[in-house]
Amino acid sequence: MKIELLALGVCAALCASAPVMAQVTWSATSSPIPTTLAGGPWLLAQGGPYVETAGTTTTGGPYDGTTPYCTPGGALGGTPISNTPVNPMQPFYFPFVAGRGLTLQGYFDYRPRDISEAIVSAASADGGQTWTFQQQVENLNAVCPQSDANGANGNENGEGHPNVVSFGGGGLIYFLDRRNGHADFDGLLVHTLTPKAGLPLNGLSSLTELGPPTVVASPTTAGIITQWNMELSPSGMTHPKPNIGSGTANPLGMVNSYKGTVNCSPASSCNFTGSVNNEDITSTTGGTNQSYSAEAWRIRGPSTNTGGATGNGWNTQAPQYTQGAQFLVSTSGYHNIVFEYDWYITAQGARNLQAQYTVNGTTWINVGPLYVAPAGGDAYYPQIVINFPALGIHTVDNNPNFGVQLVSAYDPTFVGPGTPCPTTACTYTAAKLSSTGAPVQLNNNSGNWRFDEINVLGTPATANTLTFPTNTVGLTNPDGILVSAPNTYPFKILYVDKTLNGDYAYPTSEQCGPTPSGKAANHDIAQVRAATSSDGVHWTDQGAVNGLNNTTTVSYSGIRYVSPNGSLLKLSTGNWGLFFGAGNCLDGDSDSFHAIAYAESPDLINWTVINGINNPIASVSTVTATDPVTHQVVTIPSAAPVVGATQPWFSGRVYGPQAAWASSNTVNLIFAGYDAAYSADISDYRTIGHVSLSAAGATLP
């Protein structure tokens, strides 16, 4: 018994010390500073100095401040004036920053409270510490304030939350339609970008087009023409049906009568007399789908067993390119065809795979390289991509007879019995190599291949006939784009799905109460979801991501809400790093501004939060209160934020982090903040800030 316990302890210790992929540890290399803007529209500093009496600004401000928002002053029929020469960058928030190094391009939500809203672009040559105005577009109005508060007459609900999805040198820009009844219900507004030097927003309208969009896109499935996700297929199914679109998937060459022992040694183990089909769906975790319940389509063909081996392996006597899997999908109405798949090989499975395509259903043409199984087998080769247009192949466009087959091929590197063949390779080998690392002949007893996440993608022929601006279709209650995967087509985004007042359907124990300061509870639900699109307008929802937030947590230490305009980094570890705005029941608001958090993921779907509410990158002011879950008095955050002490200008809100690559281990973090008294003090809100961060544990390619 003691020995068993000892063994258990050793095993536990070994497991505990198993290598874990390094996660980034961030540290600040500068103090947070408010940034400045040269030129552009009226800024808050022009209205100062402010005097606040009983929670209300009585002197200074946009109506009657030092330099009012309009000239000649106040609301007396003037016109909005400009910022001159340089002032703190307020009132801007929801930054979107592109570029690397010191040269950055920024897109900002300009939102003078109760006056207007617009999108402003600005450039920075010092990594985001100072900005120079470029353009102001999509202005909600040109009104002048009726008072400093202007609450009765103001309107600041225009187009906001700018986010650019780019690919191959071009891009689309997305905005939230913030009007009541539209925000978090309508699709995001989509505009094309036709940038010119110094005019990144070239082509966009000076005034907002709000009102009905020019064109409401029709709801058609975009991006994925056909998909086989085997997790969505019932176990045991043969000839699996696609879960998106239409098409056929069939095993190829498993029913055959090839006999003999040619190129097979020892002969006693491979004297086959043909095979029969024995495909199925079987549990196979890994590849693209890392979930515990992941499944794959297994292709195998046991011997007909009249004197040969009895395993489920493929027939070694079959000619190459005759055994595998075949997918037939019509691409009618689509072009830019891309075929993707996960390939799993058992240790005794055939080592070499060749993809072939057809444009007439009968003639098959090799495409792409000869793929070699991961050494040893029993492993996935995830998301092999055949990008036909990138290979100059356009005959597969708009083709009802398109198909791809994934077939076993002889191993050209094999040296052994039967080789050298007269002219070309003629021997299958197994994924599992010899003790010296050399390929060994396929023994045909048990090996098989499995496939999953087979996608046929394309651009709808209607893509270039879209009229912009328009609304996205397929995003659920979008509040804005969190991030887009760089250099990815079809476009892939994570977005915030916000259901206003949605948590009333939850049990009371899963609803926020009033905040410790007495602010009313918020009842929205904010869920981060993934989506793909081949035209940027029609999106296919890929489901909620895991690990960033818990929509039901009422813990003051948990992340209940996530806000748009986060920032994605590719890490040397292979992981993705994500900076994002996080919030919870402490805020009485679902805009997710309590802290800037950081998480990592291997696949953009499954996330692990590394810097959360209690050890954030940056946080609003410390709160001490009784936690609704533990009923213990807690101080949030419990650990000092990475950027150091909270500063007044982001003590009320901090979010919208944009991490711009600065070097192989540093980023410039541009973000937005409010002071704690922003509800009454209109002198210090919506500030764009900057801080430098350094990474340890991984480099930034």
Binding site: R100, T103, A123, F167, G169, G170, P195, N336, A390, H394
Partner: protein, 188 residues
């Protein structure tokens, strides 16, 4: 009377034999351009024409064309380009290609700067281009092969020219004759 001229003639003849024809460069630049984001490919567009004048009696003996995939107009956007192939002479000669999603031309460089490219014309290319050299104009076009936008920095054509052999030899002979005549007149 001829004696003194013999060394001069030998020297001059040797000069003619050893002389390297003078070389000169001619360059022409097409300004940077930002394309239009498009989903429909392949699509071919002429980005501009190089214009130049080859002096009479001179010939093109070499040439390079260089530029960048993407430009510096909008960081994070126009600093890259769609998958695309670049041609001169009505598509006869490919001078650059951005052909892989992982290449810096479309994936972006580490620094974010546009990705440079350069092409040196072969003798066969120069033969193909001869009519364009005579015409003083050479087109530059791009075929976009995938979704995105073709952005380019300034593209420069640099031609190395030299006097044609016949005229070069004729010039040398004239020079030689001039020397001989001058010496004769001086003796006289």
């Amino acid at each position: 009377m001829l004696k003194p001229t013999i060394p001069a003639v030998i020297f001059a003849t040797a000069l003619v034999a050893l002389a390297v024809p003078a070389m000169a460069d001619i360059s022409s630049t097409i300004p940077e351009s930002d394309g239009q984001f498009t989903f429909i490919t392949p699509a071919t567009t002429t980005l501009g024409d190089f214009t130049f004048a080859i002096p009479t009696g001179w010939t093109v003996v070499g040439g390079t064309i260089s530029g960048t995939f993407g430009n510096t107009d909008v960081p994070g956007l126009t600093n890259t380009a769609a998958l695309s192939d670049y041609f001169v002479a009505n598509g006869a000669i490919q001078v650059a290609g951005c052909d892989s999603f992982t290449d810096p031309c479309t994936a972006g460089t580490v620094s974010g700067a546009p990705d440079p490219w350069s092409y040196t014309f072969s003798q066969s290319d120069l033969t193909t281009l001869a009519p364009y050299f005579s015409a003083g104009s050479l087109d530059f076009s791009v075929t976009q092969n995938f979704v995105g936008e073709v952005n380019t920095g300034p593209v420069t054509l640099d031609l190395q020219i030299t006097p044609e052999p016949a005229s070069f030899f004729f010039t040398c002979v004239l020079c030689l004759a001039g020397i001989v005549l001058r010496r004769r007149f001086r003796k006289a």
